[in-house]
């Protein structure tokens, strides 16, 4: 059968058979799950953004040919674009499939012209767009009905990763301090305010990390400024992860997961490390559980807390110690 009707030209069927960019990303900066309530189809889009632009996109999930082909074509189209450019293209695509505009700039997606005669199926093609926009907006869930439904505790603007330089030292110290010490840190769940007073780190400490070889301070940044940071350092075959801080009011929104994943990617891809290590204050059960959900395991190896060295804070209790957590990369 050659003629499958306007909705299924050969190009659409081909993309459905061999979807581009299908799968998952090991380290994504943005991700969202989209649902089309009309049919229950689900689509996940994961992104890795660099400097606010889409460097990599992957889509996964069970969906119809229209959704899969659109996601496949869209993935090729938006590579290298920022959120504003995606917004423009999304609007143009929506107008096109409603017969209100031409296909300029839509490239392969021009093949979705059949939707002009199939209004009942338009949502199938809008699902990948809604999901992409949700991901870029820092939301974690989208539907074709409400466009974007915020599931995250706090909406996070699109962010990108870069390595810190000497110019960032002050901002990093402030961020780390805000996540772990004082009343402000209690807005997030990483607070150590009830265990420790004093400093968590200082400018000299951060500067030393920047100066060390095979050592990076990773920053996640949006237009609003610094959102999160972490230190990752190569130590032979393993990498060490530390100084992990997310702005307290943004915690619980998925940004920490993205930072950890990016650090693991650097260790694995740039340094060829086989293992990630970190030390966590052993009484912080909920923090250890968070790492365990991300593949880390407790080793039962402990290090004493540096009582007396006020660079790490002033302990409020005398039973603190660090436990080593590891994950194979």
């Amino acid at each position: 059968m050659d003629d499958a009707g306007p909705l299924y030209p050969q190009l659409v069927l081909e993309h459905r058979r061999n979807p581009r960019n299908r799968g998952r990303l090991d380290a994504c900066t943005h991700a969202a799950d989209g649902v089309n309530p009309l049919c229950g189809d689900r689509l996940r889009i994961e992104l890795r953004c660099v400097d606010g632009r889409i460097a990599e996109l992957r889509h996964s999930g069970e969906a119809c040919a229209v959704t899969v082909a659109t996601a496949s074509m869209l993935g090729e189209l938006v590579e290298g674009l920022d959120a504003a450019a995606v917004e423009v293209l999304g609007g143009r695509f929506a107008a096109y499939i409603e017969g209100r505009g031409d296909a300029a700039g839509l490239e392969a997606l021009a093949a979705m012209a059949g939707l002009q005669q199939h209004p009942a199926r338009r949502k199938c093609a809008l699902l990948p767009w809604a999901t992409l926009r949700a991901a870029l907006a820092g939301s974690t869930a989208a539907t074709t009905e409400t466009e974007i439904r915020m599931h995250a505790r706090t909406a996070i603007a699109p962010f990108a990763f870069r390595a810190a330089t000497d110019a960032d030292v002050e901002a990093v110290v402030d961020l780390v301090q805000s996540a772990y010490r004082g009343e402000g840190s209690k807005q997030g769940w990483t607070t150590e305010a009830d265990m420790l007073d004093g400093r968590r780190t200082d400018a000299a400490g951060v500067a030393a990390l920047l100066a060390a070889p095979h050592s990076k301070v990773l920053l996640a940044e949006s237009a609003d400024g610094l959102l999160a940071c972490a230190h990752v350092e190569r130590q032979g075959d393993a990498a060490y992860f530390g100084m992990f801080s997310v702005r307290p009011r943004l915690q619980g929104g998925g940004i920490g997961r993205a930072v950890l994943a990016e650090a693991e990617r650097i260790a694995r891809e740039e340094w060829a490390c086989r293992e990630m290590q970190m030390t966590v204050i052993s009484i912080r059960d909920e923090l250890i559980a968070w790492y365990e959900r991300r593949g880390y395991r407790r080793t039962g190896q402990y290090k004493p807390f540096p009582y007396g060295d006020e660079r790490f804070g002033i302990p409020k209790r005398d039973d603190l110690r660090f436990e080593l957590l590891v994950k194979a990369l």
């Binding site: 059968m1 009707g5 009309l38 049919c39 189809d41 040919a65 199939h118």
Partner: protein, 412 residues
Amino acid sequence: MNNLQGHVLDVARVREDFPLLARTVHGKPLVYFDSANTAQKPRVVIDAVDRYYREFNANVARAVHQLGEEATAAYEGARDKLARFLGAPSRDEIVLTSGTTQAINLVAYSWALPRLRPGDEILVTTMEHHANIVPWQLVCERTGARLRVAPISERGELVVERFVEALTPAVKLAAVAHVSNVLGTINPVAELARATRRRGIPLLVDGSQAAPHLAVDLRTLGCDFYAMTGHKLFGPTGTGALWARREILHDMPPFFGGGEMIREVRFEGTTFADPPHRFEAGTPNISGFVGLGAAIDYLGGLDHAALVAHERALLDHLTDTLRAVPGVRLFGEAAHKVPVVSFLVDGAHAHDLATLLDHEGIALRSGHHCAHPLMQFFGVPATLRASLAFYNTHEEIERFVAALARVRTLLA
């Protein structure tokens, strides 16, 4: 079935009664396999609606002029016909509604809402349409009652013992589909009604999918409420009915207020009309019920035994043919069914197949069929559903299966 022998439906002649069946879709003769969604209408229905507007359009039960008399006679005539069609003991027990959804909501708001208390329960089944779930959830939210669910088997049959076990003293109402819109399963309503009556629990039956296929007889069913819709019964959209026992209707307060449903209105207080008019505020869908009356007359003129025999043969043909197709999964293989078959095809999305089949002139439904809990039971987001009526043919089944084989290759 010996009693059906000798009853043969002249399908070719019947099809001539349905003008729409003669049309083409995308250049191909239409195969309409979506009658459980809405049925096509015989010419007599279309003509009746047309004649009402041309010859006796007037409001009902208000006007004393000749047109009003004629319109009222035709509208109330539909109530008489529905009462006879359903085997209702009295025409005054037939409340005319916009369809099943309004009928069930009437029971939810007028009967259940004032009665239910925290801790009470409403029992439904896994195979219910959203129209027989959501109104009860809304009642539960407002009263503190709980919704309980009687399970079905993998074959798509209600597990009667489990239903009966669930009829505890906490249950104040049971609500069950007569026929499943997704699976085609015919539930043993008379058996369920015996169990509910013994315990003094009212039973509501959603008859939307039963009326087009079965000879419904409320006297032998033994339920307490029966909700149905006209547009699946070959009548116009926006028509339907609630039947309830006279004593139950008398105890129900009005649901909508307005004209037609009153006896006397004073600003100090209003007295209401007796059922059924108490529940029929405002100008009703007069043309629709004129058409529904014509549909019931039309069905009455067919040999029902021949219709049942033909539908059973269609169901067997469709089921056996689909079952033989590799990679086809059937949903609902109950012993007693109407010609409704839900299925999925390996590696092909339901919506893609439905669109591709539409291009072949074949209309069937894909999706969740307003039955999310049932989809969850089978662990699928959606199915394809071929739902047939007596005007369908064996040749159409062959065309459908051949087209299915062709379009599958596109998605392979």
